[in-house]
Amino acid sequence: MNDLVNQIQLVGDWLTSSEQWHGDDGIPHRLAEHLTYSGLSLLCATVIGLAFGLLVGHTGRGAFAVATVANLARAIPTFGLVVLVVTLAGLSTAPVLVALVALAVPPILINTFEGVRGVDPDARDAAKGMGMTGWEVLLKVEVPMALPLILLGLRVAAIQVVATATVAAYPGLGGLGRYIVDGLSRNDYELVIGGSAVVVALALVVQAAFTALRRAVVSPGLRPAVTKP
């Protein structure tokens, strides 16, 4: 217990020292880097994952390919992939971002696909029978009904991107992971634990943002489905 207090004290000291708030190694700059990497790759992954997930879910064609890709992708060790990209392409941001996108697409893709495919066939039949065009069925019925799963996919992808962007500091990328990696190599425990605290805080904010988003956009008529990654 005493130790926990010490640890919090340590984080507090680190956070309040003024050098953490200025310059290239300051928290604002590192956080901005982290958010840029995560945001950009999540955005690209969302566009790709949604487009293919909606297409396959709506038409029903390519379901097997989607399931296979998603299963294989889950087995890829993110750490290995990021380090490999840096080794092969050198230390630049773009290739690492490509790797982050590749990791974030599968959860979005598979959940969007499952969400659309799982739409009650009666509701889809009724929508068509009442005279909705294909686009209207997709946008007015399938997407709203799949929204809980789509958001779940986005959340899992976001969590994965934030975590992998942290690990990407090891082969030399910026972002909040720098504190942890640099602290480890310098045996500076205050830096390690301070950096970890900021990473945890960011993860909690992401998690809370998705909970809020879900409340805001999912119809209360869709009873809360169990949410799991």
Binding site: D125, A126, M130, G131, M145, S219, R223
Partner: protein
């Protein structure tokens, strides 16, 4: 109104869902498509709004080939109700009902006020409007489904087993209300069911399909029961079709006799003197009070002192069918059916033999004119052309309660 011309539907795997169907459905009529599973009845229904495209032949609506109209546009003008309602879980009840008006670009306000009217029409309280489908019972969901199909007031309604997912009691209520609604709205309705009882209860005309997508018979319910076209139809309408036909014979024409009816104030001696095994005690207004077994009568006093056995149930000469009368006879402790008039006073009694003799005469008599009347000519509704004593609407309306109660009410 709706016309099938040599319509077939074949699937690439070699199965034939519908085989050379030609059929003409009258405007304002309720046609039931009935048959075992896999007989093509649902496919036939879905070809009307192009949810299924025929492989051969044409379907026309109001004289126009439906292929001339773009499918979405066609469908917005045809109401569509399916088995599990298919409500949109993410929309409120009100917005579900407003779907088609919104698709037609009516504007939110107008669409919603129309939806509110429709909810009232199908008997749902206004408090339901803001609920979501998961908060409704199966029967309520089905009502919303019907209201939604009526959204843009389409002249044609397609209903695919709309009442088969709810329990029998709710189904009876929904059927009765649906008939009431149809009397008001006069839609041209195509209704699919696998339940021959439902078909007989609801249909002006019934099309019986056999496996392989062939039309076996197209007739009024009465004709179908009297003259099944072949063994398949006879088998499908059931062994008890003779009894079922009685649903279409009014009880008013049945011969009744005064029988052992006595005021409850009559002395026991008078009851004995009748020499009948049972005596029916009535009050001053001749309303039936109960049966008394002659053997169990007390030695003196009036019928008031006797133990009265409950009546079972009576039948009404003004509203019930011959089927209800026969049922009343079979369930009565004295084996005598008690017929009452509009005021509830006893009009007379009859036993099952007397009733069945009269019914046999009544149903034979109707055979001759019915032949001429039930030819599937467009515009001729069954109710307007069938002879007296065979009035469809009444039997249909009294159907749910009487049929449902046949087994249990007498206990």
């Amino acid at each position: 109104m709706i016309r099938f011309d040599a319509v077939s539907k074949n699937y690439p795997n070699g199965t034939t869902a519908v085989d050379g169907l030609s059929l003409e459905l009258a405007e304002g009529g309720l046609t039931v498509l009935v048959g075992p599973s896999g007989c093509g009845k649902t496919t036939t229904l879905r070809m009307v709004n192009r949810m299924v495209e025929p492989s051969a032949g044409t379907v026309s609506l109001g004289g126009r080939d439906i292929r001339e109209v773009a499918a979405p546009e066609l469908r917005r003008g045809i109401g569509y109700v399916i088995q599990h309602a298919g409500l949109f879980p993410h929309r409120t009840v009100l917005d579900n009902v407003a779907t088609v008006p919104l698709l037609l670009g009516w504007g939110k306000k107008k669409a919603r006020s129309r939806a509110a009217e429709l909810l009232e029409l199908v008997g749902l309280p206004a408090t339901m409007a803001k609920r979501y489908p998961y908060q409704l019972s199966g029967g309520q969901q089905q009502r919303v489904g019907v209201a939604r199909a009526l959204g843009a007031d389409p002249p044609v309604l397609l209903m695919d087993e709309p009442f088969s997912a709810v329990d029998p009691i709710v189904r009876g209520e929904l059927q009765a209300e649906f008939l009431r609604l149809q009397k008001e709205l006069h839609k041209t309705i195509v209704f699919v069911t696998h339940d021959i009882d439902e078909a007989i209860k609801l249909g002006d005309h019934i099309a019986v399909f056999r496996t392989g997508g062939k039309l076996a018979q197209f007739d009024t319910p009465e004709k179908l029961l009297e003259h099944p076209a072949d063994d398949f139809v006879a088998d499908f309408v059931g062994q008890d079709r003779g009894i079922r036909r009685l649903s279409f014979v009014q009880a008013s024409g049945l011969p009744l006799r005064e029988g052992p009816v006595l005021p409850v104030t009559a002395p026991v001696a008078e009851a004995r003197a009748l020499g009948e095994p049972w005596v029916l005690a009535v009050d001053a207004a001749r309303r039936p009070l109960g049966w008394a077994a002659t053997d169990d009568l007390p030695s003196g006093g009036t019928l008031t002192d006797a133990t009265l056995v409950p009546l079972g149930h009576t039948f009404s000469l003004t509203g019930d069918s011959a089927r209800a009368a026969l049922d009343a006879a079979l369930l009565s402790p004295s084996r005598l059916a008690v017929g009452v008039d509009a005021q509830g006073a006893v009009a007379g009694v009859a036993d099952a033999y007397e009733l069945s003799a009269a019914m046999a005469r009544a149903t034979t008599l109707t055979d001759v004119p019915a032949d001429a009347a039930t030819a599937p000519e467009p515009g001729a509704s069954a109710a307007s052309t069938t002879p007296a004593g065979l009035t469809k609407g009444d039997a249909g309306e009294s159907g749910p309660e009487k049929d449902g109660g046949a087994g249990g009410d007498g206990r």
